[in-house]
Amino acid sequence: MHIDNFASGNSVLHHLDPRIKIVVAALFSVVVALADKYACLSAALCVSLALLLLARLPLKQVLLRLLAVNTFILFLWVFLPFTYGGKELFTVGPLAATREGVAYALIITVKSNTIVLALIALLGTSPVITLGHALSHLYVPDKLIHLFFFSLRYLQVLHLEYERLRDAMRIRGFKPGTNLHTYRTFAYLVGMLLIKSVDRADRIRKAMLCRGFHGKLYVLSHFELQRKDVFMFVFMVLIVSGMAALQWIIPK
């Protein structure tokens, strides 16, 4: 399983302090998620695209990610133009699409893609494990961080176990179809995965007890704020405030 797809790189964003990136990403997402004015959203989209350029990520992979996100949005496009009240724009058989409905669907599409692009540019450029460290510096409860680390670590291990089981099935000529045999096989696969996980968890628990675990994981690498991090933080907060102003203050 490829976890850190965009994390290797040498751009400005790759070198930015992950704590800054998380805070900025959170502020940005919240403002865009709540916004509905064109001025604010087009500004936000420009910011996202600028961040993407700044992160210098492989465009093709980013577009593939967006494709996955937009399946849900596409599903909404089937409905929203026809169910939102307003002036008729065009008709498909007995259904009438409204101007307001299309506008609403468009706004949602822009919002969704804008946020995801920003998240890829900001959070995707740090390894997930580093983001976990950063979260522990941002007052997220220790227990939750530990759980996060464990899941992340064993995600890769269990995925390998899963692939081994799948290979074993393939070698024995298993072909999935819509029948009880398939469902039973997959159910046993899940059961086997659970058993392997519980056994592994028990070994980890014992190993941790031996090493005197008492509810604290010591973080070895600490972050240090540099001048460029502070500069970037202030700059991004100003931009996000500008977006918020375009949404809530200037129209009045």
Binding site: L119, L123, K143, H146, F186, V198
Partner: protein, 203 residues
């Protein structure tokens, strides 16, 4: 099942965040330090299970298994699901930061409910009954999750009603597949490793 960023309204997002924060707090309080490896590893096991695509006619659905997770972990399923959803957001960009609360709650609440409805009645003495209960558990968990997703959309705006209705109907095959797989998985666990079902309480 994940709602994308930028769709839901502020009140819905806020309600989801508050409910999830509460549920996670309760779950973390109930989770002992010794349970940490087990919960972490189970949470990744369920993540991996969600990558399994099961054919239904010409199409395919992926497993969710939040009912089974609730059955095994009780309230601790809340933080486990939060971690799973965050990882999915970070690794695949499914869902995102602002929808973390809503997406977690929509999957975790049914898991907790399944725990209270079914877990106590499952015993080694009646494997047949246990499998029937696990069937119900898989079905109810997805049904409730689909309804919660639909409600999140409907509370955002009246115009989502049609989409929300179709969403619940479209999840019917998922409910059936989850129910069958949950039942057979539980049957397998009872045959091969019966003590697993008591694990979260025994440690």
């Amino acid at each position: 099942m994940h709602i994308s960023e930028g769709v839901l309204s502020a009140p819905v997002l806020l309600t989801g965040a508050v409910l999830t924060a509460t549920g996670v707090a309760v779950g973390l309080k109930k989770m002992k330090n010794e349970q940490l490896p087990l919960v972490g590893v189970l949470s990744s096991a369920f993540f991996v299970s969600s990558l399994i695509h099961i054919p239904v006619g010409p199409s395919a659905v992926h497993l969710v298994l939040n009912g089974l997770l609730g059955l095994l972990l009780g309230w601790v399923a809340f933080p486990a699901i939060l971690v799973g959803v965050s990882l999915q957001a970070l690794i695949f960009q499914f869902g995102g930061l602002t929808t973390l609360g809503v997406n977690t709650f929509n999957m975790a609440m049914p898991a907790i409910l399944c725990y209270y409805l079914f877990a106590r009645h499952i015993s080694q003495d009646h494997p047949g009954v246990a499998m029937v209960l696990a069937f119900g558990c898989g079905f109810v968990a997805i049904l409730l999750s689909a309804i919660l997703v639909a409600l999140s959309l409907i509370f955002t705006g009246e115009s989502f009603v049609a989409a929300a209705k179709l969403l619940v109907v479209a999840h019917l095959p998922v409910m059936v597949v989850e129910a069958v797989v949950s039942a057979l998985s539980l049957g397998f666990l009872m045959k091969v490793r019966p003590e697993i079902l008591g694990v979260p309480h025994a440690t």
